[in-house]
């Protein structure tokens, strides 16, 4: 029997190939419409879109770690967040995210801030709603990546002039992180 070549026989691409943004935009639009048709409320729609994002996140994490870090997994929380801000964002959107901050009064919550989300770089009509659809998707991607790296969290997207991804880690993740830092001292 002739051996068929499957995807596993090919080497992983370098990820440099590109596609027309219009093609992605029309696909994304159809995806949002599909989510709308199967949802009752606005929250449902965003949950669905975030779910699509998570599917992308799990796979993207495998691809990027394999390609960029040679199997080494980031174990420190801040290192992981920086990895998302720079490497992951560059792979997905061609540039780094703008800012990473920790909320002053809450040691479990971090903010990842992006001034011009992918969609905004090309469009001149920023609309809160549109940005939110896209941000819900990206939030799903972040959540899945952090989850794959064993940092349990909930990511939500907010928008005022810039997109903020609010990353809320579980208490246990922060406790583990502090213990890790203490033991290294």
């Amino acid at each position: 029997m002739a051996k068929t070549t499957g995807i596993l026989d090919k080497s992983l691409s370098r990820g440099k190939t590109e596609i027309n943004l219009s093609t992605f935009a029309v696909l994304f639009s159809e995806m949002v419409l599909y989510a709308q048709n199967r949802s009752e409320t606005v929250t449902d729609i965003h949950d669905r879109i975030a779910q699509y994002g998570k599917q992308v996140g799990y796979r993207m994490f495998d691809i990027i770690t394999l390609r960029e870090k040679g199997y080494k997994r980031e174990t420190k929380l801040l290192g992981m967040l920086m990895f998302i801000k720079s490497t992951v964002w560059k792979n997905l959107f061609g540039k780094e995210a703008d800012k990473l901050e920790r909320l002053n009064d809450d040691h479990c919550t971090y903010l990842l801030i992006e001034k011009d989300p992918l969609v905004n770089t090309y469009i001149s009509v920023p609309k809160d709603k549109g940005v939110l659809n896209c941000a819900a998707f990206a939030a799903g991607i972040i959540e899945a990546i952090l989850e794959s790296a064993s940092f349990k969290c909930k990511v939500t997207a907010h928008w005022h002039n810039e997109t903020a991804y609010v990353i809320q880690f579980e208490e246990s993740v922060i406790a583990r992180e502090n213990a890790l830092l203490d033991s290294n001292r």
């Binding site: 949002v32 969609v119 001149s124 609309k127 549109g130 896209c134």
Partner: protein
């Protein structure tokens, strides 16, 4: 030289966009009625001129001209029709129409609109874009 006004119609004859700049005299019709008649006139000119054509080929109607104005037509292969009224001696209007078509597609198909799945194009945005294009044209005074 002057550019008076512009109409954009979809395939079904729905007026998607209208704006005017130096239109000092109105037709005296309601806007809806005017759109209908403009579109109807263009369709009739198209079909009748096709009937009169001397050879069987894909011909297009490009413009009609009176002593005081010229109406130039552009029809995309997708059936979007753009009509513009200018001074009878204006030139470079075909290129201008194509730029307006580009602005229209960009607005109607902008990633933002698609991603937000809004059905209505952003009217004010298109208006400012078209205005920008028209005022830059050498025939706009």
């Amino acid at each position: 030289m002057t550019i008076y006004n512009v109409y954009i119609f979809d395939r079904e004859g729905q007026c998607l966009f209208y704006d005017e700049w130096f239109r000092t005299k109105q037709s005296g019709l309601s806007k809806i009625q005017e759109y209908k008649l403009v579109f109807g006139m263009m369709l009739s000119m198209k079909s009748f001129s096709e009937r009169l054509a001397t050879a069987d080929s894909n011909q297009t109607v490009n413009f009609y001209k009176t002593s005081t104005y010229k109406m130039t037509f552009l029809e995309s292969a997708t059936g979007i029709k753009i009509l513009i009224n200018t001074d009878p001696n204006a030139n470079g209007i075909r290129e201008l129409l194509h730029k307006i078509y580009q602005a229209w597609t960009e607005t109607a198909n902008s990633a933002a609109r698609l991603i937000s799945s809004e059905t209505e194009p952003d009217e004010s945005f298109l208006k400012s874009r078209v205005k920008q294009i028209v005022t830059k044209h050498p025939c706009y005074v």
